[in-house]
């Protein structure tokens, strides 16, 4: 065997895998930045209350647009020319969090679910037209959606404390619908062990909203003077 051949091969391979490794690291970093900044958007949306709705959402949307323009576009740049599936593990967490943030904003604004097609359409402008455009895949979208329900749960509870009962009720219905739909989809998903874990968390979220909602409906009931009879009187005495 010719050592030179081997050495040469070594170098060729080196170039390839080394490049891959560096790229992977950069993609991981991009993904991490997307995550952090998407989380900030979500945190911003949670500041919502009856009085500051418009203002909060406007800010959140601006922040989200910034995530798209700055961080998602960096990811797009890093990925260019690569098989999106090869590095999926590296960027999937960030994309999921981005989906979570985007759908969360949309729901708070319009009460509807932001579709995958809509998200992907919104990404087209930041893609380099000469390359295959980055398109978020179904799996990451669904994984992001699963996390969305956790945020909606928190939102519902804070809305209840704030007295916006109907809104909470609406959230609750929405979450239940998503949960049901996902129940049917999970078994068809690629590697679904993550998703299965998320489904359990989601069920807990659903149950939590239900409980908060329940105690609330009893409490509203209680606060009606006609009904809360002796108990309330006792307290007032």
């Amino acid at each position: 065997m010719d050592l030179q051949v081997l050495r040469w091969m070594g170098e060729a391979v080196e170039r390839t895998t080394q490049g891959q490794n560096d790229k992977r690291e950069r993609v991981v970093k991009a993904s991490r930045d997307i995550t952090i900044n998407s989380k900030k958007v979500i945190f911003q949306v949670h500041r919502i209350s009856k009085s500051n709705r418009e203002e909060v959402l406007e800010k959140a949307e601006k922040d989200l647009a910034a995530v798209t323009d700055q961080y998602i576009s960096r990811l797009v740049k890093e990925l260019q020319g690569t098989d999106f599936w090869k590095l999926r593990r590296a960027y999937s967490p960030g994309v999921q969090e981005y989906v979570e943030a985007a759908t969360f904003c949309k729901f708070c604004k319009t009460g509807t679910l932001l579709n995958l097609a809509e998200i992907n359409a919104s990404l087209l402008p930041i893609n380099d037209p000469s390359l295959e455009p980055l398109q978020i895949n179904v799996l990451d979208y669904l994984l992001g959606l699963a996390d969305l329900t956790g945020e909606l749960m928190r939102l519902a509870i804070s809305r209840i404390s704030d007295g916006e009962l109907e809104y909470a009720e609406k959230i609750c219905r929405f979450v239940r619908d998503i949960y049901r739909e996902l129940t049917l989809l999970v078994p068809d998903m690629d590697e679904n062990s993550d998703m299965k874990k998320k489904m359990e968390t989601m069920l807990q979220s659903v149950v939590k909203i239900e409980n908060a909602d329940a105690s609330n409906s009893w409490l509203t009931f209680l606060s009606k003077p006609s009904v809360c009879s002796s108990l309330q009187e006792q307290r007032l005495a």
């Binding site: 049917l184 239900e210 105690s215 409906s217 009893w218 009931f221 209680l222 108990l231």
Partner: protein, 227 residues
């Protein structure tokens, strides 16, 4: 050589049992799929949709399951005396099915689905391919896990008498299980979990009671669950 002949014989046998197992797994997968749809429909009960409507929806799936059990029975008839050899391959599906049927039955009648009733619904015949008792019992435990959530949602929807009824049902069920001297196995673990369901229902009942919500004549007549 005779060794080779023996191993050739083994090869045939292992392949036979392998293909049998594969056919069983295929049936089990089909069951899983029917279960998934049935479960998804049953979830509507938490949104306080009327029981008859739900029953209507799941009826089709029950028929599918019955058919699948029939097919399973036919496969097993090919290997008499080996029920328990392959049992593990459809076990967890059976347990889930029992839990769904038992929940439905309770919604309809307020009573526990009996072992024989479950066999009947699934077209099983104890004399040749029956429902394993432990599977039935595990299924009943699974069903109990669903009740706390149901109670909470019913209260939300204004059915303040539900906790009392469920509590009574669950207390009796728990007492009945307590009579069994369970080995330290899966069933025992599931049963041990039932007390958390009981506790949770007690707490909802407590919440309702402490707020004085029970007295009213709210018992929603459209539900079969009159304990």
């Amino acid at each position: 050589s005779s060794v080779e002949k023996q191993f050739e014989h083994f090869r045939v046998q292992l392949e036979q049992s392998g293909s049998l197992r594969e056919r069983i797994r295929a049936v089990a997968t089909a069951m899983e799929s029917a279960i998934r749809i049935m479960h998804s429909n049953l979830l509507l009960v938490h949104q306080s949709r009327p029981v008859p409507e739900i029953l209507e929806k799941v009826k089709g799936q029950i028929a599918v399951l019955k058919e699948l059990f029939h097919r399973l029975g036919e496969i097993l008839r090919e290997c008499p005396g080996q029920y328990y050899r392959y049992h593990g391959d459809w076990r967890s599906e059976t347990q889930t099915i029992v839990s769904l049927l038992a929940f439905l039955h309770w919604l309809e009648t307020g009573n526990l689905l009996m072992h024989t009733e479950a066999e009947e619904k699934l077209g099983l015949d104890a004399s040749e391919f029956g429902l394993d008792i432990e599977d039935y019992l595990v299924g009943v435990c699974f069903m109990s896990n669903e009740l706390p959530r149901y109670v909470v949602n019913q209260v939300t929807a204004g059915d303040y008498d539900c906790p009392r009824k469920v509590l009574k049902f669950l207390t009796d069920l728990h007492a009945a299980f307590q009579m069994l001297n369970l080995r330290n196995d899966f069933l025992r673990k599931k049963f041990d979990g039932m007390k958390y369901d009981l506790r949770r229902v007690e707490e909802v009942y407590y919440d309702v009671k402490i707020r004085g919500l029970t007295a009213s004549g709210d018992s929603t007549g459209d539900q079969g669950t009159q304990a």
